[in-house]
């Protein structure tokens, strides 16, 4: 027994995130403060004493869109290197300290950003800041660490892509939808390119993209803003600014004809149809209208595709999808897993019939309400944790230069009208604008287990 306990009860009064009444029910307002450090690091703080928790997120303005040909998967491989140690933190010590003190943490990479976060009991604020500052300032870069994480990332690829049914289909589709290299390749990258990454690549990437002036830090939770900012300045302000990284050309030529591919999949047992309609960047009026459209078409059991394909015609075991949010042109995705014996062409026809109906007649009042209420519930539930508030605000600052989207996003959804939905359906859901990938199960002959 090495623990002795001494209790000191501190009554904690619930200081709510400021709340106001809105017409459709109570909404939540997040009071935030922005501070820019001398080295360009953008800092957003949100005090919230409702639970003894602090959450920190640092989002770097770099993702797979910044990669060059021959180095696909590099932004994500680099993310793994951020857990392999810095001047004062040993390899693996970052997550060792977070988890062993009752916290949680992770890092994720997508096309448009790389984000790192921790949530910890509020008495570990100094630890969280120290961990993030030390690696931003002094990442250890060596071949042993790179080779080790190259292995881990290649296993991540096998786990999610190469050893799963339909794994290659997503990759093929992404390569087909886009013409611009920025989005034309996957975040996980190819095995060859992962093998090609060098220590020099890591050092150059770190210097350019992991500079304070290319990042946003958001801190949410149970702390005093003045004290926290003092500590943040102390830990981060000494990290030197770097020249701004080159901007990425995201222009995407207009698609003129349908694109199509067929994938033979040794691991799949049922055919699958994946359809994507190229559309617009996130946080635009058409984006929000496409989100509402997607909810009507394919979210939940009341959706048009579920009712038609799963229930009425019994063509598929599952159908669903979403409007993807990206800084560059996103796409509306639909995916259907077919029942045995059903033809892919019949499933495509059934999907296109529903889309044509929606284009011709628009959506019903209840469908508009559904999209708005569902968005609102999801958004508000998400706001429950300090961590998701921190991540969202950092990401929205990096994507749209607008952390306050946390207070305005629901309004943007609520302004969408039925006419908007019908308009974007006709504008983007055209045959010439779609990319279709059909996966066909092609089991490898199990020769080795055939009885002699």
């Amino acid at each position: 027994m090495t623990l002795r306990k001494k209790f000191l009860n501190v009554m904690l009064l619930f200081a709510l995130v400021a709340t106001v009444a809105a017409q459709t029910g109570r909404s939540i307002h997040v009071d935030w403060k922005e501070t820019r450090l001398a080295n360009g690091l953008r800092v957003i703080t949100v005090e919230d004493h409702s639970a003894p928790v602090i959450a920190i997120d640092i989002t770097y303005n770099v993702g797979s869109r910044n990669e060059r040909p021959g180095r696909t998967g590099f932004a994500h491989l680099f993310e793994h290197m951020m857990f392999k140690g810095s001047e004062n933190i040993g390899t693996g010590e970052h997550f060792y300290l977070v988890f062993n003190n009752g916290g949680t943490m992770n890092g994720t990479t997508n096309e448009d950003r790389t984000t790192y976060f921790e949530a910890l009991p509020s008495n570990q604020l100094d630890l969280a800041l120290f961990l993030e500052a030390d690696r931003m300032r002094s990442l250890v870069i060596n071949k042993a660490n790179l080779d080790n994480q190259r292995n881990a990332v290649q296993e991540e690829r096998r786990l999610g892509v190469d050893n799963q049914p339909y794994g290659q289909s997503g990759e093929v589709q992404q390569g087909l939808i886009y013409d611009n290299f920025a989005y034309k390749h996957t975040v996980i990258g190819s095995m060859e390119d992962l093998n090609a990454a060098t220590v020099e690549d890591v050092a150059a990437f770190f210097k350019s993209y992991y500079a304070p002036n290319n990042a946003v830090l958001t801190l949410v939770g149970d702390f005093k803003t003045g004290d926290a900012l003092k500590r943040i300045k102390q830990d981060f302000e000494k990290i030197p600014r770097q020249p701004d990284p080159p901007t990425v050309d995201m222009t995407e030529p207009e698609q003129k004809t349908e694109r199509r591919a067929s994938v033979d999949d040794a691991l799949a047992r049922l055919p699958q149809v994946d359809i994507a309609f190229k559309a617009v960047p996130g946080n635009t009026p058409d984006f929000y209208a496409l989100q509402v459209l997607s909810a009507s078409l394919q979210s939940g059991q009341s959706s048009r595709l579920y009712q038609a394909l799963v229930k009425d015609k019994q063509l598929v075991t599952n159908v669903g999808g979403f409007m993807d949010e990206k800084r560059g042109p996103g796409a509306l995705y639909i995916s259907a897993t077919l029942r045995q014996g059903v033809k892919a062409a019949d499933v495509e026809t059934a999907i296109y019939d529903e889309i044509e109906r929606l284009k011709k007649d628009g959506i019903a009042d209840w469908e508009l309400q559904k999209a708005k209420n569902t968005t609102r519930r999801n958004f508000i539930n998400n706001m429950q944790s300090s961590l998701s508030r921190a991540i969202n605000m950092s990401v929205w600052a990096v994507y749209y230069n607008d952390p306050n989207l946390i207070n305005t996003r629901l309004d943007k959804v609520s302004t969408v009208t039925k006419q908007d939905v019908q308009r974007v359906a006709n504008k983007y859901l055209a045959a010439t604008n779609r990319t279709v990938v059909v996966t066909i199960p092609k089991p490898k002959p199990a020769a080795a287990t055939t009885q002699q």
């Binding site: 501190v10 619930f14 106001v20 010590e93 096998r158 050893n163 075991t317 209420n373 519930r377 009885q451």
Partner: protein, 499 residues
């Protein structure tokens, strides 16, 4: 001004509640934790500013009452956000399925929403989706309970409760919907069996539990074909009774506000005698076995190794909890640090344990690229034996406790998880202060306790090893650990080709 008044009212309400109080535990110990100690796979420099105190939190308490028909109600007020979650926990699940009718409880739960006396399946979906509310219902094949859950925005609570009560009380199980659901399940199984982790889980459960209901992950095809609308109606009428259920609620609502709504929704729900469910004991552990599912085309081997564990209420629970934390409870645990951080064999390696009113399992698992299957097996066996043969270090023990106790602070931001804690305490008839003394029980665990339960529940003589991968490249490697039995994805034994 109007907004300000509302704001003040809200704040006062919140203060009056004082949902939680927290205190500081001073963890005074001989050494400084986490300093200058390196472990396999991690280099611990010990220079980061770690606060030695574990923030001790008190979990908010639920309020309880009972309707006249015996329906127990538990409310956990949470005013963080204007939402609700309402969960009906019917105290009969898959364990109440008659033999030959595996899946009856599961199908009953799933089909509640497919039609009532006054609503068609589509009406139910549309009404709930329109208000942005969720509706889900589930029962496992070996579960103690069937649960039906709705969640949504608090301003839509009345409409959601209306549909929720209707599907729980008046389901009709239309034969057409039953047939569609059955056909969908059989098709879905094709998809599931293309996923390697699913195949591993199916084989592992069978290896541990044999013919016990927990030996099944999906209902047998014969069972699916046999079940009729009348069977579902029978299960529903027998077990879905207010005196055999509890209603667990968390959200932005007070007991005074919600009770009239619950009376309206469930007050005239008829009680009835419900037959007791006999809990079948898990079978005695079989001899150590290695089972390989051949999945041609695999580039990884999914490995799952484990034994029979403990019941949820076993006094060894806290020792097993700490042991699991050290062995594979997360990225800071031995399996992850060894197999991923040190060896680079995998994206992740973890251990897990669970228990019901019958014995659960203690398992370790990972996905590794095919050509390191041998190395991964070696490390798994090394780590399992090490848990048994050596006492864990003072630092590891301390870290595990800090992780387990410290994480309670974060749970305060997840009211739905707190409600689940209360439900667990009720289902297993645990003492009312179970979650309050939980940190003390964790604190009391010693290195000797950990080794004792490791020797008891990591039983190498009865270890069940399941691998899913390319048999041509893995059967030889696995054979070094014992006789390998091979299966196809359908679970049928196959004869390996001699080569």
């Amino acid at each position: 001004m109007k907004n300000l008044r509302v704001l003040m009212k809200r704040t006062f309400a919140a203060i009056a509640l004082v949902v939680l109080a927290f205190s500081i535990t001073s963890a005074q110990r001989a050494g400084t934790p986490q300093q200058g100690q390196s472990v396999k796979g991690a280099d611990i420099k010990g220079r980061a500013p770690v606060n030695k105190e574990i923030l001790k939190v008190s979990l908010p308490k639920g309020q309880e009452t009972t309707l006249a028909n015996g329906l127990r109600v538990i409310l956990l007020e949470s005013h963080r956000v204007p939402t609700f979650t309402v969960q009906m926990v019917v105290l009969s699940g898959g364990l109440a399925d008659p033999t030959d009718y595996h899946g009856l409880a599961s199908f009953t739960a799933a089909l509640l929403r497919e039609g009532t006396a006054t609503r068609k399946s589509k009406d139910i979906a549309e009404q709930m989706d329109t208000i942005g509310a969720t509706l889900g219902s589930t029962a496992g094949l070996s579960s103690l309970t069937s649960t039906i859950t709705t969640s949504g925005l608090i301003e839509n609570l009345d409409q959601a409760l209306d549909v929720f009560a209707d599907v729980i009380r008046n389901p009709k199980f239309p034969q057409e919907e039953v047939d569609k659901y059955k056909a969908r399940q059989l098709q879905q199984l094709q998809f599931q069996r293309s996923i390697p982790q699913f195949l591993a889980q199916e084989r592992f459960q069978r290896a541990i539990y044999g013919d016990h209901p927990a030996g099944l992950v999906v209902p047998p095809t014969e069972s699916i074909k046999r079940i009729t609308s009348a069977d579902l109606a029978g299960f529903h009428s027998t077990y879905y009774r207010p005196n055999n259920a509890m209603l667990a609620i968390v959200g932005d609502v007070t007991l005074k506000e919600i009770m009239p709504k619950l009376e309206r929704a469930f007050g005239d729900w008829q009680k009835s005698d419900v037959p007791a469910t006999k809990i079948p004991a898990a079978p005695a552990p079989g001899a150590m076995r290695i089972q390989l599912i051949n999945r041609p085309g695999s580039v990884q081997t999914v490995l799952q190794l484990g034994n029979l564990g403990i019941e949820r209420t076993n006094p060894d629970y806290f020792a097993v909890l700490v042991m699991n934390q050290i062995l594979g409870g997360g990225p800071a645990a031995r399996l992850f640090l060894n197999l991923r951080e040190d060896k680079g064999y995998t994206y992740g390696a973890y251990s897990n344990f669970g228990g019901s009113k019958f014995r659960g399992t203690v398992t370790s698992s990972s996905e590794v690229r095919t050509d390191v299957t041998e190395g991964a097996m070696h490390e798994f066996m090394y780590e399992l034996n090490r848990m048994r043969d050596e006492k864990v270090s003072a630092t590891e023990l301390e870290n595990a406790k800090r992780a387990l106790i410290g994480s309670f602070a974060l749970s305060l931001e997840q009211p739905q998880a707190l409600l689940q804690n209360i439900v667990v305490q009720k289902i297993y008839d645990m003492p009312a202060d179970y979650w309050d003394v939980y940190p003390q029980k964790v604190t009391a665990i010693t290195a000797e306790d950990v080794q004792r339960v490791a020797q008891k529940y990591i039983d190498m003589g009865h270890l069940q090893i399941v691998a899913v991968g390319d048999a041509t490249k893995t059967r030889g490697v696995l054979a070094k650990y014992g006789t390998v039995q091979e299966f196809d994805a359908e679970g049928k034994p196959v004869e390996p080709m001699k080569n």
